[in-house]
Structure formats: C-alpha cells, structure tokens
C-alpha cells in the first residue's frame, strides 16, 4: 500500500515539475532569444521578468474561447487535450534517480518500471500525432489541415530513424527497460580501461546513434529547424491557426513539456541518466535518500541542458524546406541508422570474443 502512495506522490511531483519546467522554459526561451539577438527580453513582470510565465498563463485563461462555426466542435476540443495528455504521460518510465529507502525497503524513483520501458515512450510518442491531426482537421481551415498533415507526415517519418537508432542501444544493453539501460551506464569502466566510475555512458559508444536520435527528437517536438507544421510564412499558424485561449495554450505548453521529457530521455539513453562520476563514492558515505535527490539533480541538470540546447538551435539555424526535411528523414537518417545498427552488431560480435 505504501508503494502505491509513494507512486502517487511521485506522479504528482513529476507532474508539477513538468509543468513548472515547461512554464519557465517559455520564459527561458524568450531570454535565450533575447540574449542571442542582443535584446533584454521580458523584464516587466517581477524581478528580471520572472513572473512572466504566470502572467502568460493568466492571460491565456482570460482570453475569449473561440470555436469556429464550421469546425467539428467535439474534435476541436479533443485535439489539444490528446496532445497534452500524451506529453504528460511520456515521463512515466524514466528513472529519475537512484532508489529511495524507507524502513529498509527500496523504492525506485520511477513511476513504472515495466519490462518494455523505452517502447512505452515510443508508443506514447506515436499517439501524439493524433492530437495534431485531429485538431488540424477539426478546425476545418485549409492552413490548419495542411499544417496537420505536414506535421503528422514529419513525425511518422522521423519516428522510423528514431526507432532504428534505439535498436543499437538495446543491442548493447540487452534490455528494453530504461532502468537497466541507465544502471548499466553507471557500472564498469569506459572502454574497459578508463578508471572513472559512473562515466560508462553510451554516447562514447554510440556517437552516430546519438546524433540521429537528437535530430529525430527535434523533428518529433516540431522544433526549429523542423517547425514546418507551424511555418508562419506559409501556413499562418499551422495546425493551431484557429485555436485561442487555453486550447492554444495547451498546444504550446505541451511542446515545452515534450522538450523537457525528450531531454530527460536523451540523457537517460546516451548520457548516463542520473549517473555522474562520484555517485558511487557518495552512496557509500551519504544517506540513500539524499543520494537519490542528488542523482535526480544530475539528471535534471542534463535534461535542462538539452532544453537549452533546443532553444540554442532554434535561434541559430534557419528552417528547412519541406522536401529537404523529408529527404533528410528518409534518405539520410534512415540509411544511416541502419548502418549504425550494422556497425554496432559487427563491433559487438568482434569485441565480445
């Protein structure tokens, strides 16, 4: 019973953290953009504009809710709801830190330690397409329809290369569970001889796979340079052209949650998750609960770094053209990821002997 209460508490805390991070990511995005364009950015609401996300949220709630006459009303409301729920559910299988301990019993800092781990993420991500497609179609607006079709085509195309690059990781770990994948990166020595504990990260074995996965993560989150679905110059607002008030807010907000969660997943898969050099030593001298919180901090820092990286790219690189985007996904990334699987297979066969 205590296990269930622990899980519920974890779910609620995770939910609040994702919302908080997403809210402050909108602020961070503006500040990063301002910094890169030599501006100041939001500075009116509170000190350094720190209350800006709250002001934005209140504004979104107080706006008039518009549901166009010609739209399919039920689906119009359903679209952003699906998008938001899928964004909130992806984080369930991420191991956020080392296990906590109460009364001598260990409780993993993970909502669901399931056997299929990473495939769950894959499944939920593949459902995010519906949020966009339903929303764009229900608007009954040509721009929205085009944006939605573009978005879903793009997302499904990049899902393939993403799945393929994951296979190389799974070949090395021999398990689909994210818990195992992260735990393995904390054990052993890097390349078998570099004596730094907790640094046996997959990035050092899978640089190509990491680059493919990162690019696909950008495309899945519909971030620049792959933000064709909402390309203002051609499609007004893309799939959310007709949306207003908090329904628009959910679409925008879910994008930031997706960014945060994909940052966490990239860290778990390639950057050792909650592992960092020195974790092993800390766990021998400190209280396990304290170690758990510190390791959570490590993963959180890595995830936030990736959120920043997403923003950095957004304000640096121009947008692709749609044919270039599809060409990159199908004709470059997909063959490259197959090559990566073959290389990994060959390498593992040679070095395991």
């Amino acid at each position: 019973m205590f296990l269930l209460i622990f899980k519920i508490a974890l779910i609620v805390i995770l939910f609040l953290i994702s919302l908080g991070v997403a809210a402050y990511a909108t602020y961070g995005e503006r500040k990063v953009a301002a910094f890169m364009q030599d501006r100041i950015g939001p500075d009116r609401a509170g000190p350094f504009g720190l209350l800006q996300p709250i002001a934005d949220g209140v504004k979104m709630f107080m706006k008039e809710e518009i549901i166009p006459n010609v739209s399919d009303k039920l689906l119009f409301i359903l679209g952003p709801c699906i998008f938001m729920i899928t964004a909130l559910m992806t984080s369930a299988v991420i191991p956020w830190g080392t296990a906590m301990e109460f009364d001598g019993v260990k409780y993993g800092l993970q909502v669901a330690d399931i056997n299929i781990g990473i495939l769950y993420v894959f499944g939920v991500v593949s459902l995010g397409v519906y949020g966009i497609m339903i929303g764009g179609w229900a608007s009954n607006n040509k721009f929205a329809l085009l944006g939605a079709v573009r978005a879903s085509s793009q997302m499904i195309s990049y899902e393939l290369a993403m799945g393929m690059s994951l296979i190389a990781i799974i070949m090395m770990s021999g398990s689909l569970s994210l818990n195992d994948i992260v735990a393995q990166q904390g054990q052993g020595k890097l390349y078998g001889f570099i004596p730094v504990s907790g640094l046996n990260w997959n990035i050092f074995y899978q640089p190509l796979g990491f680059i493919i996965f990162l690019i696909c993560a950008f495309a899945e989150c519909n971030r620049t340079p792959f933000d064709l679905p909402e390309c203002e110059t051609e499609l007004v607002g893309g799939y959310h052209t007709e949306y207003s008030s908090m329904k628009l807010g959910l679409y925008l907000f879910a994008e930031y949650i997706n960014m945060f969660v994909s940052g966490a997943i990239i860290s778990c898969l390639y950057f050792g998750g909650y592992n960092f050099p020195g974790l092993e030593y800390l766990s021998t001298v400190l209280n396990p609960n304290l170690v758990s919180i510190i390791s959570f901090g490590a993963l959180f820092t890595k995830a936030i770094f990736f959120v920043f990286f997403f923003m950095w790219i957004r304000w640096t690189i121009p947008r692709f053209r749609y044919d270039q985007l599809m060409k990159l996904g199908w004709q470059v990334l997909l063959p490259l990821s197959i090559l990566n699987v073959l290389l990994t297979g060959g390498g593992l066969t040679i070095f395991s002997k």
């Binding site: 399919d72 689906l75 056997n115 299929i116 495939l119 499944g123 593949s126 519906y130 179609w137 499904i156």
Partner: protein, 168 residues
C-alpha cells in the same frame, strides 16, 4: 470475484462498446477514433495476460501506425455531405442479408467451440520480449525471413499503385 476479473469485464465491455461505435458512427473520422480506443482496450487485455511486449507493439503498430494511415485515407476522401453517395435500396437489402448471414455463421461457430481451460496468466513469462525473441529467432527463422519478402512485395505494390499515373 477477484479484482482482475472485475477489470477484465470492464475492459471487455469497453472493447465491445467501442467496436459497436465504430460501426454506428456516422462520421468516418469518429469511426476511426473509436477504433483506436478499441485497440487500446485490446492492448489492455494483453497487459492483463502479462504479454507486455505484444501490448505495446499493438499500440505502436495498430494505434500509432495503421490508424494514422486510416485517418489519412479518411481525410483524403471528400467528406462533404453533398457528395455523399446514396446507395440503391437493392444494395442495402443485399448488404443486410449478407451481414445477417455472416452474423449467424459466427454465432454458430462460437457456440460450437470448446472453451479452453483457464490458465493463470500472471505466472507465465512467455510474453516477455526476451522469450519472444528467443522463440522467433531460434525456432521460427524461416517464417521471419518469409515475412521480410512479404514486406518487400507490399512496398513494391504500394509504390506501383501510388505512382501509377506516371505511365499513362
């Protein structure tokens, strides 16, 4: 009645209801959405049987891939009500007749099947991805390779169909 039995009956009822809504929805988009929900509840059944890999593959392939294709297809159709084709009465009558006959056959077939003995599902680990992989790549290598040929033919077929206009 155990808690898993209650969950099973609720899931089963939901599966049947959503399947019925697929048929009864007037708008094909709603049919597709109900079908997705139906697939979800079937994935729930797989989880109840401890076939986790099958459950998630069911969601990825059916809900995530095939239904996207369905949704594209339905959106490709011209869904304006003026262009809705009206079927002749004779056709409707024939449809009801053949549908009813099929229903009768299914009922008869279900009636004559022997219910399999109940196996406690929680104990089996057959559905784990490791065991499935071992079975598939040790014992069923040939069907697996034949499946790849099937994919090849499906790919070529779809490209030929979609690119048809280029020849004429």
């Amino acid at each position: 009645m155990g808690i898993s039995q209650i969950i099973f009956y609720m899931l089963a009822a939901f599966t049947l209801l959503s399947a019925l809504f697929v048929v009864f929805s007037k708008n094909p988009i709603y049919s597709v959405l109900w079908l997705i929900l139906c697939f979800f509840s079937i994935a729930g059944h797989f989880v109840m049987l401890n076939a986790q890999f099958l459950a998630v593959v069911h969601i990825i392939v059916y809900s995530g891939a095939i239904m996207v294709l369905f949704l594209f297809t339905v959106m490709l159709l011209n869904l304006n009500s003026e262009t809705e084709p009206h079927k002749p009465t004779l056709l409707k009558f024939a449809a009801v007749l053949s549908g009813g006959a099929l229903f009768l056959i299914i009922i008869a077939a279900v009636r004559s099947t022997m219910p399999a003995p109940y196996v406690a599902p929680q104990l089996s680990e057959v559905g784990y991805v490791k065991n499935i992989g071992m079975k598939l790549y040790r014992d069923y290598t040939l069907p697996f390779e034949v499946a790849s040929i099937l994919f090849l033919s499906a790919m070529i077929g779809s490209v030929v169909l979609a690119k048809k206009e280029r020849f004429n």
